[in-house]
Amino acid sequence: MLCERCKIREANIQYTEVVNGVKKEHHFCAQCAKEMDFGVYAAIFDGEFPIGKLLSGLLGIEDDNQGPDKLHQISCPTCGTSYDTFVRDSRFGCADCYSVFGPLMEDSIKQLQGSLHHTGKAPVYQNTEDEGEKGGKTNGKVLVKGVSEEEKELSELDSRLKEALRFEDYETAAVCRDRIRELRKGNETNA
């Protein structure tokens, strides 16, 4: 079938419009579709990450419905990615963004990936300990880095502290600082 707009190229995009309960089907070629105004869905027709951009389209719409102000205030404490940047780039800033933005976009991930649960491979060497908690279980073998749990947590906290200071997130910085003090004290008494 030829594109109904240019009538030259083969139509490969089917666009179904429902206006007041009346369904209308249109057939366009990708180029015409790109030129036409499909609002946020226009992103589907260009770019390297069509699915990724589609996601920002979907989230953008949610944004309008859910009172944007509240969401705009959310940002990741670890890397400083704000909800706006996250929606614009469809890109996470760090591993912790998944716990910050994850709950907000479960529906979108489900739509995108068809699932919310990983069933494939898991790392052989993985420390499953939750941040800030000691004595967690280790999955499989212990990391072969020869670093004790405390030292590891200390270095992690240290980098988080620096990061927090860089983004002027003094609240997180204070939490990190206190935890570092606590750990260092513990080390001294152990030694």
Binding site: R9, E10, N12, C29, A30, Q31, F45, E48, F49, I51, G52, L55, T78, C79, G80, T81, D89, S90, R91, F92, G93, C94, A95, Y98, G102, M105, S108, I109, L112, Q113, G114, S115, L116, H117, H118, T119, G120, K121, A122, P123, V124, Y125, Q126, N127, T128, L143, V144, K145, S155, E156, S159, E163
Partner: protein, 344 residues
């Protein structure tokens, strides 16, 4: 030493190459887009140092290079040979690559994700490539802790890669099937099975060379084997259909097919100026005819190698200077004339 694309894919006709890509990130750093130059450099050097024995896993010789210090032309040439993606081309921050001599194994450091393992091979070898990538992944994981979540799996910069972080893809050659009216609906059907089909060269309206890349749409909720299985099945199904149409075309209009390929060969062998588009169309016809046994070459030839070779950056590298569009067409015609073997 042969590069992977210089070998002719054995086995299934119509299947050009397979690729496995795994996206991984380290637990202790934010994702690459959030790293400044200093931390990026530190990360790249830590990875390079930590993975210096990587050659032993694969029994291959690896070279390391900083992408941000590489000449742009070299980067583009690597993209043309499918070693790098376009994100790696534009990346300004410190990033690196560990690449095997055969260019079939590459580990890109600090581009879209901290680590991207890529395995390439001629023919349909997703299963084997996955096994190798899996081994390499474990080797890296012995040295660096990954960002992993029990629920979301391997955490990646883009939500489109989360879970397995696996993109399995196969490049297939579908010159006849893609001309059919039902091709776009066929591609639509593939997406219902979780496979995405897109043209490799050219724009959306016209895919010259008729090379199509089939890859998995989803990365979360399926095991690696299931993903590989989906892509493999889609590749086999599409190429089987292509071969049926081709068989029919030989039965019904053999003389037209022969006429077409001899004309194409004549142009490829004797023209003095060749655009990329025309070269791809003619090479595609030659590829199909060689595979169907309509013509035979005196020497073994990988038409796919020629298709990779006629791209702008590679031609400029051969000429050792920047070329205008006109000069590129001349260099391209020269390259094809030189590399194309005689017919029997």
């Amino acid at each position: 030493m042969h590069r992977w694309y210089e070998q002719n894919p054995a086995g299934r006709p119509g299947i050009i190459s397979s690729r496995i890509r795994l996206a991984r990130n380290l637990q202790e750093y934010p994702f690459p887009a959030k790293l400044d130059d200093k931390v990026s450099t530190e990360l790249v050097h830590r990875l390079e140092f930590g993975l210096k024995d990587i050659g032993e896993v694969e029994e291959k010789h690896f070279k390391f290079a900083l992408l941000n210090e590489m000449e742009e032309l070299d980067r583009v040439a690597l993209k043309e040979r499918r070693v790098l993606n376009s994100a790696a081309l534009t990346k300004k921050k410190p990033s690196g690559i560990l690449l095997s001599q055969e260019e079939d194994t590459g580990i890109v450091l600090n581009c879209d994700d901290h680590i991207r393992i890529q395995m390439l091979g001629a023919g349909l070898y997703l299963e084997e490539l996955w096994e190798k990538a899996d081994k390499l992944d474990d080797y890296i994981n012995e040295r660096f802790e990954y960002a992993f979540d029990d629920r979301f799996g391997y955490l990646t910069s883009f939500p489109t890669n989360v879970g397995t972080g696996l993109r399995a893809s196969v490049v297939v050659h579908l010159p006849m099937l893609s001309q059919g009216r039902k091709f776009s609906s066929l591609i639509g059907d593939m997406s219902r099975f979780g496979a995405c089909v897109r043209g490799v060269h050219g724009d959306v309206e016209e895919n010259f060379g008729s090379l199509y890349e089939i890859s998995n749409l989803k990365t979360l909720g399926q095991t690696e084997r299931e993903i590989i299985d989906t892509v493999t099945k889609a590749a086999i199904q599409l190429t089987n259909q292509e071969m049926q149409v081709r068989k029919l075309s030989i039965q019904k209009r053999k003389i037209e097919r022969e006429d077409e390929v001899y004309k194409s060969y004549g142009v490829l062998k004797y023209a003095r100026r060749m655009t990329f588009r025309d070269s791809m169309i003619f090479l595609s016809q030659l590829m199909a005819a060689l595979s169907d046994g309509l013509v035979k070459a005196k020497e073994d030839v990988s038409v796919y190698r020629l298709m990779l070779g006629i791209q702008p950056a590679n031609l400029q590298k051969i000429s050792d200077r920047p070329l205008s569009k006109e000069e590129l067409d001349i260099a391209r015609a020269e390259f094809i004339r030189r590399e194309l073997p005689a017919l029997k």
